[in-house]
Structure formats: C-alpha cells, structure tokens
C-alpha cells in the first residue's frame, strides 16, 4: 500500500479519516482547508520482495539468470523476472527497451519532451533588438533564425497540437530584420559618402 495522500500546501500525510469527504477539512498540520479524493489504486500492493529463485525446469530472467522469469518484454521478447518488469502504460517492458525507445523518440508514448524551434527562432529575433546587438549582428541573427525556421518546420514534433503561426511570424520578422539591417548599413554608407566632412573624413 502507498504511504497515503498528502496535503498540497505542507506536503504532510493526511489522515485516512479525511479521505473522500464531501467538504473541506483542515489539514492537521497547516490548518489549510483541504479536500482529498482518493482512488482504489492507493491500496494496490507493490512488489518489494526479491524475485523468486528459479528451478532447473523453469525459465530464467535475461538479466538475472537465477531468478524465475515471470513476464516477457513486449518489445524485445526477453524473459523478465518481477524486478526487471516495468509496466509502461499497458505494456510490460524491460529497462533496456525503455532506455532505447526514449533515446530514439520513435514512439509518441516514450516522448517526454519536445524542442520548440519556433520559440528559439523568435527569441533569436527579439533578444538582439532589445540588447542593441542588432546594430552589429542583425543580419547574422536573422539568417540564423531563418535556418532554424527551415529546420524546425519539419523537425518540430510536439506531442500536443501546436499551431504553425509562430513559424510564420518568425519568418516574417527575420525577413524584416534582415532587410532592415541591410537598409541601415546602406543608409550609413550613403551618409558617409555624401557628407564625408561631417564624419571627419
């Protein structure tokens, strides 16, 4: 059985008498009005015992040869003892498969993070303007942002639906900033050439 339910404010254990009450009750520790909805999963026993030893006639675990095989990995088919069986959703997998699948990110079920290329591109376009680095390196930043937009358009694969409008916005901004920087440089050169005395030349 799990340790129990905890108060969201003070993180102390709540008494079982406070579970599934219709109204709020004060937490015994912090007195915050708290309500806890507890589900049957809290009473589920977790196997903390050592895996059973195998007989000569029984199959052994792939990782622990002396332990009796109790499950088969749904991905690679290895025999697994109770210690090596990891329930991942509805599947039972071995630690190797989980590690490999998470690194490959080939299945949505194992994806635990996504890179947001659109946010990176927007950041690359906004930060130089705010820091005045744009005056010197504006063209480089906008070219870099454009490259990230092109790469990210295909590579960005978030698990949840995400609009592409940020990419369009970033592309428009990068073009504006790039053209703006070229125009700025052209203006400075034209000013220097037309009024060289004003610039001490």
């Amino acid at each position: 059985m799990s340790a129990g339910a905890f108060c969201p404010i003070c993180h102390r254990l709540l008494a079982t008498s406070q579970w599934n009450l219709p109204d709020f009750t004060a937490c015994p520790n912090c007195q915050a009005p708290t309500r806890t909805l507890v589900f049957p999963a809290i009473a589920r026993t977790t196997s903390s015992t050592r895996p059973a030893q195998r007989n000569e006639t029984e199959a052994g675990c792939f990782f622990h040869g002396n332990s009796r095989a109790e499950n088969v990995c749904a991905s690679c088919g290895r025999f697994l003892c109770s210690l090596c069986t990891l329930a991942f959703g509805t599947q039972k997998l071995c630690p190797d498969c989980i590690y490999r699948k998470r690194r490959q990110a080939s299945e949505a079920l194992f994806c635990d993070q996504a890179i947001l290329f659109d946010n990176i591109a927007l950041l690359l376009l906004v930060i130089p303007v705010l820091c005045f680095v744009y005056v010197y390196l504006g063209l480089i930043f906008s070219a870099f942002a454009l490259a990230i937009i092109i790469i990210g358009w295909q590579r960005q694969r978030p698990l949840v639906p995400r609009s592409k409008y940020r990419f369009v916005l970033a592309a428009a901004l990068s073009l504006i900033e790039g053209v703006g920087w070229i125009a700025l440089v052209w203006l400075v050169v034209w000013l220097i050439q037309s009024h060289p005395t004003d610039f001490g030349l």
Partner: protein, 173 residues
C-alpha cells in the same frame, strides 16, 4: 528497397484533447505556461520551459489521489490589481487631456485584470498523486476550471480503476 525494420518511423501525433490551460498572462512569464490534455488512457501534463516542452503522463489506472487546498492567492491578486487601479486614478489630478487619456488606459488595464481575477473565481493548490510522483496541476487552480476538471476526469479514473480491480483479484487468488 530498404528494409522496413530499419525504416525511420515518424511519431504519430497522439490524439489528445486539451481540457485545461493556465491563463494568457502565463504566456508572458517563461516556464509558467502549462496545459492538461486528456489522452486515451492517461492525462498528459505539458509544461513549456521557454525552448522546450516537458511532458508528464498520469495513467488513469495509476492515479492514487487528487488533493486540493483553498489558497488566498486570488485575494492578494485582487488587492494588487485594486491598488494599481486606485493609483491610476491619480492621473486625473493632472487637469490635462493627455493625463485623462493615460489615466483611462491604466484604469482599463488594471480594472480589466481585477475583473478577470474576480470572474475566474477563487484559487486552489491542486496536486495529483501516483505511486511514482506527486505533481502540482497549475492549469486547474481556479474554481471554475477545477470543477470542470473534476467532472471530466474523476468518472474516467473511477471507471478505469474499477475495470482493473477484478483482474487484480484474480491475480491475488
């Protein structure tokens, strides 16, 4: 022809339905935007940390408890927005047209924020607990959102765990 065993598989977008999200003001603060999605057999908590989006899954069959405590955050927010609204009235002491316009703009912004805060309802601190993790669910910390979340999710969790109970009993026998 390439061997299909070595073909690069594209991850299919999972069919998720958004059920709650933090307010639009959270978009302005990096790392504070988070959303809750309803999956086939789990809840997905997606948290944006500027350049990344982190995902946490809570399988309906594994959820042990959802606990929530009343918090005073909404009162403090009301006090802050109310104070700023009061301060913006000082613009009307300058008897000039542009002062009135600026004052009206400030009143509109802070008054709007105060009104939105009051309409969103009181605040809670909500935690979801499984055997492996306890996570705070920021997207459902307003009263209206919490009620909607409970109405959507609790029947699904109960159903998932009731369906699982006979199997566990069989295993125990």
């Amino acid at each position: 022809m390439s061997d299909p065993a070595f073909a690069k598989t594209e991850p299919r977008p999972a069919p998720y339905r958004k059920i709650a999200a933090t307010g639009w003001t959270s978009r302005l603060l990096p790392g504070s935007r988070s959303e809750i999605y309803l999956g086939e057999d789990h809840l997905l908590h997606a948290k944006q940390i500027m350049l990344f989006e982190k995902y946490r899954r809570f399988y309906f069959s594994d959820i042990e408890a959802i606990s929530f405590s009343k918090s005073n955050r909404w009162i403090w927010l009301s006090v802050v927005w109310g104070f700023l609204l009061f301060c913006s009235l000082f613009w009307y002491l300058g008897h000039q047209t542009w002062c009135y316009i600026v004052g009206a703009l400030y009143c509109l912004v802070f008054g709007g924020l105060l009104l939105l805060n009051l309409l969103a309802g009181r605040t809670y601190v909500v935690n979801i607990q499984t055997a492996a993790q306890i996570r705070r669910l920021r997207p459902v910390e307003r009263e209206n959102q919490l009620i909607k979340f409970q109405q959507t999710v609790i029947p699904i969790i109960t159903q998932a765990q009731q369906a699982q109970q006979p199997n566990t009993n069989e295993a125990a026998v």
